[in-house]
Protein backbone atom coordinates (compact mmCIF):
# COMPACT_ATOMS: atom_id res chain seq x y z
CA UNK A 1 0.00 0.00 0.00
CA UNK A 2 1.77 3.09 -1.27
CA UNK A 3 0.46 6.66 -1.28
CA UNK A 4 2.00 8.78 -4.03
CA UNK A 5 1.71 12.58 -4.09
CA UNK A 6 2.11 13.94 -7.59
CA UNK A 7 1.12 10.44 -8.66
CA UNK A 8 -0.73 11.45 -11.84
CA UNK A 9 2.29 12.32 -13.97
CA UNK A 10 6.03 12.07 -14.41
CA UNK A 11 8.05 10.24 -11.76
CA UNK A 12 4.94 9.74 -9.57
CA UNK A 13 2.94 8.05 -12.34
CA UNK A 14 5.86 5.84 -13.39
CA UNK A 15 6.25 4.72 -9.78
CA UNK A 16 2.50 4.04 -9.41
CA UNK A 17 2.65 1.77 -12.49
CA UNK A 18 5.70 -0.04 -11.14
CA UNK A 19 4.18 -0.52 -7.68
CA UNK A 20 1.07 -2.13 -9.19
CA UNK A 21 3.13 -4.26 -11.60
CA UNK A 22 5.09 -5.59 -8.61
CA UNK A 23 1.87 -6.58 -6.82
CA UNK A 24 1.39 -3.52 -4.58
CA UNK A 25 -1.49 -1.10 -4.20
CA UNK A 26 -1.07 2.46 -5.40
CA UNK A 27 -3.01 5.49 -4.22
CA UNK A 28 -2.56 8.18 -6.86
CA UNK A 29 -2.86 11.52 -5.08
CA UNK A 30 -2.73 14.59 -7.28
CA UNK A 31 -4.20 18.02 -7.99
CA UNK A 32 -4.87 16.94 -11.58
CA UNK A 33 -8.12 14.99 -11.19
CA UNK A 34 -8.56 14.04 -14.85
CA UNK A 35 -5.07 12.59 -15.25
CA UNK A 36 -5.13 10.98 -11.80
CA UNK A 37 -8.48 9.28 -12.33
CA UNK A 38 -7.45 8.07 -15.78
CA UNK A 39 -4.28 6.49 -14.37
CA UNK A 40 -6.14 4.85 -11.46
CA UNK A 41 -8.69 3.43 -13.93
CA UNK A 42 -5.91 2.09 -16.15
CA UNK A 43 -4.29 0.37 -13.15
CA UNK A 44 -7.59 -1.24 -12.07
CA UNK A 45 -8.50 -2.56 -8.63
CA UNK A 46 -4.99 -2.18 -7.26
CA UNK A 47 -5.20 1.60 -7.58
CA UNK A 48 -7.23 4.47 -6.18
CA UNK A 49 -7.29 8.17 -7.00
CA UNK A 50 -7.57 10.84 -4.29
CA UNK A 51 -7.52 14.58 -4.97
CA UNK A 52 -4.61 16.23 -3.16
CA UNK A 53 -3.14 19.70 -2.97
CA UNK A 54 0.00 18.96 -0.92
CA UNK A 55 -0.10 22.36 0.80
CA UNK A 56 -3.56 21.58 2.23
CA UNK A 57 -3.26 19.77 5.57
CA UNK A 58 -6.88 18.47 5.75
CA UNK A 59 -6.49 17.10 2.20
CA UNK A 60 -3.48 15.06 3.38
CA UNK A 61 -5.50 13.72 6.32
CA UNK A 62 -8.28 12.68 3.91
CA UNK A 63 -5.82 11.05 1.50
CA UNK A 64 -4.24 8.98 4.28
CA UNK A 65 -7.68 8.01 5.65
CA UNK A 66 -8.91 6.98 2.18
CA UNK A 67 -5.81 4.81 1.70
CA UNK A 68 -6.33 3.01 5.00
CA UNK A 69 -10.06 2.61 4.38
CA UNK A 70 -9.64 1.20 0.86
CA UNK A 71 -6.56 -0.96 1.24
CA UNK A 72 -6.50 -1.61 5.00
CA UNK A 73 -3.26 0.18 5.83
CA UNK A 74 -0.28 2.19 4.62
CA UNK A 75 3.29 0.95 4.15
CA UNK A 76 4.82 3.41 1.73
CA UNK A 77 4.76 7.12 0.95
CA UNK A 78 6.25 8.83 -2.08
CA UNK A 79 6.43 12.63 -1.91
CA UNK A 80 6.80 13.39 -5.61
CA UNK A 81 4.56 16.43 -6.02
CA UNK A 82 6.65 19.45 -6.85
CA UNK A 83 6.88 22.63 -8.86
CA UNK A 84 9.86 23.62 -10.96
CA UNK A 85 10.21 27.37 -11.20
CA UNK A 86 13.03 29.35 -12.75
CA UNK A 87 14.04 32.41 -10.79
CA UNK A 88 17.18 34.08 -9.47
CA UNK A 89 17.81 35.83 -6.18
CA UNK A 90 17.11 39.16 -7.90
CA UNK A 91 13.88 38.38 -9.74
CA UNK A 92 12.20 36.07 -7.22
CA UNK A 93 9.40 37.70 -5.23
CA UNK A 94 8.55 36.70 -1.67
CA UNK A 95 5.29 35.22 -3.01
CA UNK A 96 7.23 33.08 -5.54
CA UNK A 97 9.68 31.97 -2.86
CA UNK A 98 6.87 31.00 -0.50
CA UNK A 99 4.87 29.19 -3.22
CA UNK A 100 7.82 27.00 -4.28
CA UNK A 101 8.76 26.23 -0.69
CA UNK A 102 5.15 25.56 0.29
CA UNK A 103 4.65 22.91 -2.40
CA UNK A 104 8.09 21.28 -2.43
CA UNK A 105 9.13 21.57 1.19
CA UNK A 106 6.01 22.08 3.35
CA UNK A 107 4.12 19.59 1.15
CA UNK A 108 6.74 16.95 1.94
CA UNK A 109 6.63 17.86 5.65
CA UNK A 110 2.84 17.44 5.73
CA UNK A 111 3.00 14.15 3.85
CA UNK A 112 5.51 12.70 6.32
CA UNK A 113 3.64 14.10 9.31
CA UNK A 114 0.31 12.48 8.41
CA UNK A 115 1.61 9.25 6.89
CA UNK A 116 3.84 8.32 9.85
CA UNK A 117 1.06 7.63 12.41
CA UNK A 118 -0.91 5.58 9.85
CA UNK A 119 2.20 3.66 8.81
CA UNK A 120 3.23 2.99 12.43
CA UNK A 121 -0.28 1.70 13.17
CA UNK A 122 -0.28 -0.55 10.10
CA UNK A 123 3.09 -2.02 11.10
CA UNK A 124 1.99 -2.55 14.71
CA UNK A 125 -1.23 -4.29 13.73
CA UNK A 126 -0.29 -6.11 10.54
CA UNK A 127 3.49 -6.29 10.53
CA UNK A 128 5.68 -5.40 7.59
CA UNK A 129 7.87 -2.33 7.33
CA UNK A 130 7.39 1.27 6.33
CA UNK A 131 9.30 3.42 3.88
CA UNK A 132 9.06 7.09 2.93
CA UNK A 133 10.75 8.37 -0.21
CA UNK A 134 11.07 12.12 -0.68
CA UNK A 135 11.93 13.47 -4.11
CA UNK A 136 14.59 16.13 -3.73
CA UNK A 137 16.77 16.93 -6.76
CA UNK A 138 20.36 17.31 -7.86
CA UNK A 139 19.54 20.93 -7.08
CA UNK A 140 19.20 19.86 -3.44
CA UNK A 141 22.89 18.91 -3.64
CA UNK A 142 24.26 21.67 -5.88
CA UNK A 143 23.22 25.27 -6.38
CA UNK A 144 21.90 26.73 -9.62
CA UNK A 145 21.92 30.44 -10.34
CA UNK A 146 18.66 30.19 -12.29
CA UNK A 147 16.62 28.16 -9.77
CA UNK A 148 17.18 29.84 -6.41
CA UNK A 149 13.85 29.13 -4.71
CA UNK A 150 13.76 25.59 -6.14
CA UNK A 151 17.27 24.89 -4.78
CA UNK A 152 16.24 26.19 -1.35
CA UNK A 153 13.11 24.01 -1.29
CA UNK A 154 14.99 20.89 -2.36
CA UNK A 155 17.78 21.58 0.14
CA UNK A 156 15.05 21.72 2.78
CA UNK A 157 13.71 18.31 1.65
CA UNK A 158 17.22 16.84 1.86
CA UNK A 159 17.71 18.00 5.47
CA UNK A 160 14.10 17.27 6.50
CA UNK A 161 14.49 13.68 5.29
CA UNK A 162 17.37 13.02 7.69
CA UNK A 163 15.42 14.49 10.60
CA UNK A 164 12.40 12.26 9.79
CA UNK A 165 14.61 9.18 9.38
CA UNK A 166 16.24 9.65 12.78
CA UNK A 167 12.93 10.41 14.51
CA UNK A 168 11.35 7.21 13.15
CA UNK A 169 14.44 5.18 14.05
CA UNK A 170 14.47 6.54 17.58
CA UNK A 171 10.75 5.83 18.00
CA UNK A 172 11.33 2.27 16.68
CA UNK A 173 8.42 2.63 14.25
CA UNK A 174 10.05 0.43 11.62
CA UNK A 175 9.78 3.28 9.11
CA UNK A 176 12.72 4.35 6.96
CA UNK A 177 13.01 7.67 5.13
CA UNK A 178 15.35 8.54 2.25
CA UNK A 179 15.72 11.25 -0.36
CA UNK A 180 16.08 10.72 -4.11
CA UNK A 181 17.98 13.27 -6.19
CA UNK A 182 17.11 13.04 -9.88
CA UNK A 183 18.87 14.97 -12.60
CA UNK A 184 16.76 16.37 -15.44
CA UNK A 185 14.08 13.78 -16.20
CA UNK A 186 11.94 13.85 -19.33
CA UNK A 187 8.64 14.69 -17.56
CA UNK A 188 5.93 17.35 -17.92
CA UNK A 189 7.75 19.46 -15.27
CA UNK A 190 10.61 20.33 -17.60
CA UNK A 191 8.59 20.37 -20.85
CA UNK A 192 8.59 24.19 -21.07
CA UNK A 193 12.37 24.19 -20.83
CA UNK A 194 12.88 21.69 -23.65
CA UNK A 195 11.40 24.02 -26.24
CA UNK A 196 13.28 27.11 -25.02
CA UNK A 197 16.56 28.27 -26.56
CA UNK A 198 19.69 28.53 -24.40
CA UNK A 199 23.10 29.65 -25.71
CA UNK A 200 21.96 29.04 -29.33
CA UNK A 201 21.03 25.47 -28.44
CA UNK A 202 17.60 23.98 -28.01
CA UNK A 203 16.69 23.64 -24.35
CA UNK A 204 16.66 19.87 -24.77
CA UNK A 205 20.17 19.75 -26.18
CA UNK A 206 21.46 22.10 -23.47
CA UNK A 207 19.95 19.96 -20.71
CA UNK A 208 21.15 16.72 -22.33
CA UNK A 209 24.72 18.02 -22.47
CA UNK A 210 24.66 18.86 -18.75
CA UNK A 211 24.61 15.13 -18.06
CA UNK A 212 27.80 13.13 -18.73
CA UNK A 213 25.57 10.33 -20.08
CA UNK A 214 24.48 12.82 -22.76
CA UNK A 215 20.74 12.39 -22.39
CA UNK A 216 17.80 13.14 -20.09
CA UNK A 217 16.68 10.56 -17.57
CA UNK A 218 13.48 8.59 -17.99
CA UNK A 219 10.81 8.60 -15.28
CA UNK A 220 11.01 4.78 -15.18
CA UNK A 221 14.70 4.95 -14.28
CA UNK A 222 13.92 7.05 -11.20
CA UNK A 223 10.89 4.86 -10.43
CA UNK A 224 13.17 1.80 -10.29
CA UNK A 225 15.29 3.49 -7.63
CA UNK A 226 12.17 4.54 -5.71
CA UNK A 227 10.76 1.00 -5.82
CA UNK A 228 14.03 -0.32 -4.38
CA UNK A 229 13.78 2.23 -1.56
CA UNK A 230 10.10 1.43 -0.91
CA UNK A 231 10.86 -2.29 -0.76
CA UNK A 232 12.52 -4.29 2.02
CA UNK A 233 15.51 -4.82 -0.29
CA UNK A 234 16.78 -1.47 1.00
CA UNK A 235 16.01 -2.40 4.62
CA UNK A 236 19.24 -1.01 6.12
CA UNK A 237 19.09 2.34 4.28
CA UNK A 238 17.63 5.32 6.06
CA UNK A 239 18.37 9.05 6.18
CA UNK A 240 20.43 8.76 3.00
CA UNK A 241 20.69 10.49 -0.35
CA UNK A 242 20.14 8.47 -3.52
CA UNK A 243 21.31 10.15 -6.70
CA UNK A 244 19.95 9.31 -10.17
CA UNK A 245 21.45 11.95 -12.44
CA UNK A 246 23.38 10.53 -15.38
CA UNK A 247 26.62 11.66 -13.75
CA UNK A 248 25.61 15.31 -13.40
CA UNK A 249 26.98 15.79 -9.88
CA UNK A 250 30.01 13.56 -10.38
Amino acid sequence: MVLLSGGASGIGAATARLVVREGGKAVVADRDEAKGRALAEELGKAALFVPLDVTDEPAWQKAVAATVETFGGLHGLLNAAGVGVRNSIEDCSLEDYRRVNDVNSMGTFLGCKHAIPAMAKTIREKGGAGSIVNISSVLGLRGASYAMAYCASKGAVRSLTKNVALHCAQMKYGIRCNSVHPGYIDTPMIAPRLSATVDNMSGRQWLEELHPLGRLGQAEEVANMILFLLSDESGFSTGSEFVCDGGLTA
Partner: protein
Amino acid sequence: MSELSGHVAIVTGGASGIGAATVRLLAEAGASVVVADIQPAAKDAPGRFVKHDVASEESWKGLLAEVLDRDGRLDILVNNAGITGGWGTIETTTVEQWRRIEAVDSEGVFLGCKYAIEGMKKTGPHKPASKGSIVNVSSVAALVGSAGPTAYCAAKGAVRLLSKSVALYCAEKKYGIRCNSVHPGGVDTPIFNPLWQALGHEQGRAMLGAHHPIGDMAEPEDLGELILWLASDRAAFVTGAEFVADGGLTSGLSRRNFFGTR
Protein backbone atom coordinates in the same frame (compact mmCIF):
# COMPACT_ATOMS: atom_id res chain seq x y z
CA MET B 1 44.14 51.82 8.55
CA SER B 2 42.31 48.73 9.71
CA GLU B 3 41.41 45.89 7.42
CA LEU B 4 37.72 46.82 7.07
CA SER B 5 38.05 50.62 7.19
CA GLY B 6 35.44 52.19 4.92
CA HIS B 7 33.40 48.98 4.86
CA VAL B 8 29.77 49.01 5.93
CA ALA B 9 28.27 45.84 7.39
CA ILE B 10 24.80 44.76 8.46
CA VAL B 11 24.50 41.97 11.03
CA THR B 12 20.97 40.65 11.59
CA GLY B 13 20.31 39.32 15.05
CA GLY B 14 23.31 41.44 16.00
CA ALA B 15 22.12 42.19 19.52
CA SER B 16 23.02 38.84 21.01
CA GLY B 17 24.88 35.55 20.59
CA ILE B 18 26.90 34.93 17.42
CA GLY B 19 25.57 38.19 16.00
CA ALA B 20 26.84 40.35 18.88
CA ALA B 21 30.28 38.70 18.76
CA THR B 22 30.40 39.27 14.99
CA VAL B 23 29.43 42.93 15.40
CA ARG B 24 32.28 43.40 17.89
CA LEU B 25 34.86 41.70 15.65
CA LEU B 26 33.78 43.56 12.50
CA ALA B 27 33.87 46.86 14.40
CA GLU B 28 37.34 46.06 15.79
CA ALA B 29 38.46 45.42 12.20
CA GLY B 30 37.36 48.93 11.31
CA ALA B 31 33.94 48.39 9.71
CA SER B 32 30.91 50.57 10.33
CA VAL B 33 28.44 48.03 11.65
CA VAL B 34 24.66 48.22 11.64
CA VAL B 35 23.13 46.05 14.33
CA ALA B 36 19.80 44.98 12.84
CA ASP B 37 17.72 43.20 15.44
CA ILE B 38 14.18 42.89 16.69
CA GLN B 39 15.52 43.09 20.26
CA PRO B 40 17.51 46.07 21.55
CA ALA B 41 21.32 45.82 21.69
CA ALA B 42 23.24 46.19 24.95
CA LYS B 43 23.88 49.85 25.87
CA ASP B 44 27.67 49.64 25.58
CA ALA B 45 27.64 47.44 22.45
CA PRO B 46 29.53 48.69 19.38
CA GLY B 47 27.72 49.52 16.12
CA ARG B 48 24.60 51.46 15.27
CA PHE B 49 21.34 49.80 16.25
CA VAL B 50 18.39 49.68 13.83
CA LYS B 51 15.21 47.86 14.80
CA HIS B 52 14.57 45.24 12.13
CA ASP B 53 12.33 42.21 11.59
CA VAL B 54 14.01 39.86 9.08
CA ALA B 55 10.68 38.18 8.24
CA SER B 56 9.21 41.47 6.98
CA GLU B 57 9.93 42.59 3.41
CA GLU B 58 8.98 46.18 4.33
CA SER B 59 11.50 46.11 7.17
CA TRP B 60 14.26 45.02 4.75
CA LYS B 61 13.39 47.79 2.28
CA GLY B 62 13.45 50.34 5.09
CA LEU B 63 16.74 49.03 6.50
CA LEU B 64 18.55 49.16 3.16
CA ALA B 65 17.22 52.64 2.38
CA GLU B 66 18.36 53.85 5.80
CA VAL B 67 21.83 52.30 5.54
CA LEU B 68 22.49 53.56 1.99
CA ASP B 69 21.23 56.99 3.02
CA ARG B 70 23.34 57.26 6.19
CA ASP B 71 26.41 55.20 5.34
CA GLY B 72 26.36 55.56 1.55
CA ARG B 73 27.30 51.95 0.83
CA LEU B 74 26.98 48.31 1.84
CA ASP B 75 29.83 45.77 1.72
CA ILE B 76 28.94 43.00 4.14
CA LEU B 77 25.70 41.30 5.15
CA VAL B 78 25.65 38.65 7.87
CA ASN B 79 22.27 36.86 7.87
CA ASN B 80 22.54 35.62 11.41
CA ALA B 81 19.05 36.11 12.91
CA GLY B 82 17.30 32.82 13.54
CA ILE B 83 14.93 30.94 15.80
CA THR B 84 14.68 27.26 16.66
CA GLY B 85 10.96 27.55 17.36
CA GLY B 86 10.83 24.94 20.14
CA TRP B 87 11.58 21.26 19.79
CA GLY B 88 8.86 20.07 17.39
CA THR B 89 9.35 16.67 15.75
CA ILE B 90 7.92 15.55 12.41
CA GLU B 91 4.85 14.35 14.32
CA THR B 92 4.27 17.33 16.61
CA THR B 93 5.20 20.35 14.44
CA THR B 94 2.13 22.35 13.40
CA VAL B 95 1.72 24.24 10.12
CA GLU B 96 1.69 27.46 12.14
CA GLN B 97 5.07 26.64 13.76
CA TRP B 98 6.45 25.53 10.39
CA ARG B 99 5.46 28.83 8.78
CA ARG B 100 6.91 30.94 11.60
CA ILE B 101 10.30 29.17 11.49
CA GLU B 102 10.26 29.26 7.67
CA ALA B 103 9.49 33.01 7.74
CA VAL B 104 12.44 33.89 10.00
CA ASP B 105 15.08 31.28 9.15
CA SER B 106 14.50 30.78 5.41
CA GLU B 107 12.48 33.72 4.01
CA GLY B 108 14.47 36.12 6.22
CA VAL B 109 17.73 34.98 4.60
CA PHE B 110 16.20 35.07 1.11
CA LEU B 111 14.98 38.65 1.62
CA GLY B 112 18.33 39.67 3.13
CA CYS B 113 20.29 38.39 0.12
CA LYS B 114 17.84 39.94 -2.34
CA TYR B 115 17.90 43.44 -0.84
CA ALA B 116 21.60 43.37 0.05
CA ILE B 117 22.54 42.57 -3.56
CA GLU B 118 20.41 45.49 -4.72
CA GLY B 119 22.10 47.72 -2.15
CA MET B 120 25.64 46.50 -2.90
CA LYS B 121 25.06 47.16 -6.62
CA LYS B 122 24.07 50.74 -5.84
CA THR B 123 27.43 51.31 -4.16
CA GLY B 124 29.43 53.01 -6.92
CA PRO B 125 30.11 53.82 -9.74
CA HIS B 126 31.17 57.15 -8.20
CA LYS B 127 32.49 55.37 -5.10
CA PRO B 128 34.86 52.40 -4.83
CA ALA B 129 32.91 49.27 -5.77
CA SER B 130 31.48 47.21 -2.95
CA LYS B 131 33.57 44.18 -2.07
CA GLY B 132 30.32 42.37 -1.49
CA SER B 133 30.31 39.47 0.95
CA ILE B 134 27.17 37.76 2.22
CA VAL B 135 27.52 35.27 5.06
CA ASN B 136 24.46 33.14 5.83
CA VAL B 137 24.39 31.42 9.21
CA SER B 138 22.93 27.96 8.61
CA SER B 139 23.53 25.15 11.13
CA VAL B 140 24.79 21.61 11.49
CA ALA B 141 21.03 20.88 11.50
CA ALA B 142 21.23 21.33 7.71
CA LEU B 143 23.85 18.57 7.57
CA VAL B 144 22.59 15.97 10.06
CA GLY B 145 18.99 15.27 11.01
CA SER B 146 19.57 14.86 14.73
CA ALA B 147 20.84 18.36 15.44
CA GLY B 148 17.58 20.28 15.57
CA PRO B 149 13.80 20.38 15.45
CA THR B 150 12.11 19.34 12.19
CA ALA B 151 11.17 22.74 10.76
CA TYR B 152 14.56 24.18 11.79
CA CYS B 153 16.41 21.39 9.93
CA ALA B 154 14.34 22.08 6.81
CA ALA B 155 14.82 25.87 6.96
CA LYS B 156 18.58 25.55 7.53
CA GLY B 157 18.75 23.05 4.64
CA ALA B 158 17.09 25.69 2.47
CA VAL B 159 19.69 28.28 3.52
CA ARG B 160 22.52 25.89 2.64
CA LEU B 161 21.37 25.53 -0.99
CA LEU B 162 20.06 29.09 -1.35
CA SER B 163 23.57 30.33 -0.51
CA LYS B 164 25.07 28.33 -3.37
CA SER B 165 22.49 29.61 -5.86
CA VAL B 166 23.12 33.20 -4.78
CA ALA B 167 26.89 32.68 -5.04
CA LEU B 168 26.63 31.24 -8.57
CA TYR B 169 24.23 33.95 -9.72
CA CYS B 170 26.43 36.80 -8.46
CA ALA B 171 29.50 35.17 -9.99
CA GLU B 172 27.78 34.79 -13.39
CA LYS B 173 26.65 38.40 -13.27
CA LYS B 174 30.18 39.53 -12.29
CA TYR B 175 28.78 41.53 -9.39
CA GLY B 176 31.86 40.89 -7.25
CA ILE B 177 29.59 39.64 -4.47
CA ARG B 178 30.45 36.40 -2.68
CA CYS B 179 28.05 34.27 -0.64
CA ASN B 180 28.83 31.42 1.75
CA SER B 181 27.09 29.46 4.49
CA VAL B 182 28.36 28.85 8.02
CA HIS B 183 27.30 25.76 9.97
CA PRO B 184 27.77 26.08 13.72
CA GLY B 185 27.35 23.22 16.14
CA GLY B 186 26.30 24.05 19.70
CA VAL B 187 27.23 27.63 20.57
CA ASP B 188 26.74 29.09 24.04
CA THR B 189 24.13 31.73 23.11
CA PRO B 190 20.68 32.83 24.30
CA ILE B 191 19.10 30.49 21.70
CA PHE B 192 19.58 27.85 24.44
CA ASN B 193 17.97 29.99 27.17
CA PRO B 194 15.09 27.52 27.71
CA LEU B 195 17.65 24.80 28.37
CA TRP B 196 19.74 27.02 30.67
CA GLN B 197 16.58 27.81 32.62
CA ALA B 198 15.74 24.12 32.98
CA LEU B 199 19.20 22.79 33.86
CA GLY B 200 21.24 25.78 34.91
CA HIS B 201 23.82 27.27 32.55
CA GLU B 202 26.85 25.33 33.73
CA GLN B 203 25.15 21.96 33.72
CA GLY B 204 23.34 22.61 30.42
CA ARG B 205 26.55 23.66 28.72
CA ALA B 206 28.38 20.60 30.06
CA MET B 207 25.60 18.34 28.77
CA LEU B 208 25.51 19.81 25.26
CA GLY B 209 29.28 20.22 25.20
CA ALA B 210 29.70 16.51 25.89
CA HIS B 211 28.02 15.71 22.53
CA HIS B 212 30.84 17.45 20.66
CA PRO B 213 34.08 15.47 20.12
CA ILE B 214 36.02 18.54 21.28
CA GLY B 215 34.17 18.23 24.59
CA ASP B 216 32.65 21.70 24.87
CA MET B 217 30.30 24.11 23.16
CA ALA B 218 31.65 27.01 21.11
CA GLU B 219 31.86 30.60 22.31
CA PRO B 220 30.06 33.09 20.02
CA GLU B 221 33.50 34.57 19.16
CA ASP B 222 34.60 31.23 17.66
CA LEU B 223 31.92 31.69 15.01
CA GLY B 224 32.50 35.44 14.79
CA GLU B 225 36.12 34.85 13.74
CA LEU B 226 35.01 32.56 10.89
CA ILE B 227 32.37 35.06 9.77
CA LEU B 228 34.91 37.92 9.93
CA TRP B 229 37.27 35.98 7.68
CA LEU B 230 34.50 35.19 5.16
CA ALA B 231 33.43 38.86 5.20
CA SER B 232 36.96 40.09 4.53
CA ASP B 233 39.00 40.17 1.32
CA ARG B 234 41.18 37.42 2.75
CA ALA B 235 38.42 35.09 1.56
CA ALA B 236 38.30 36.69 -1.91
CA PHE B 237 38.29 33.35 -3.78
CA VAL B 238 35.74 31.76 -1.47
CA THR B 239 32.13 31.57 -2.65
CA GLY B 240 29.24 29.09 -2.67
CA ALA B 241 30.91 26.99 0.01
CA GLU B 242 29.96 25.52 3.39
CA PHE B 243 31.97 26.30 6.52
CA VAL B 244 31.47 24.01 9.48
CA ALA B 245 32.55 25.04 12.99
CA ASP B 246 31.13 22.35 15.23
CA GLY B 247 33.85 20.92 17.46
CA GLY B 248 33.92 17.78 15.31
CA LEU B 249 30.19 17.07 15.70
CA THR B 250 29.56 16.11 12.06
CA SER B 251 33.03 14.83 11.23
CA GLY B 252 32.31 11.16 11.81
CA LEU B 253 31.82 8.50 14.42
CA SER B 254 32.83 9.39 17.91
CA ARG B 255 32.35 8.09 21.38
CA ARG B 256 30.42 11.28 21.92
CA ASN B 257 27.00 11.21 20.26
CA PHE B 258 24.82 13.67 18.46
CA PHE B 259 21.97 15.50 20.15
CA GLY B 260 18.86 13.51 20.84
CA THR B 261 20.17 10.06 20.00
CA ARG B 262 21.45 7.45 22.37
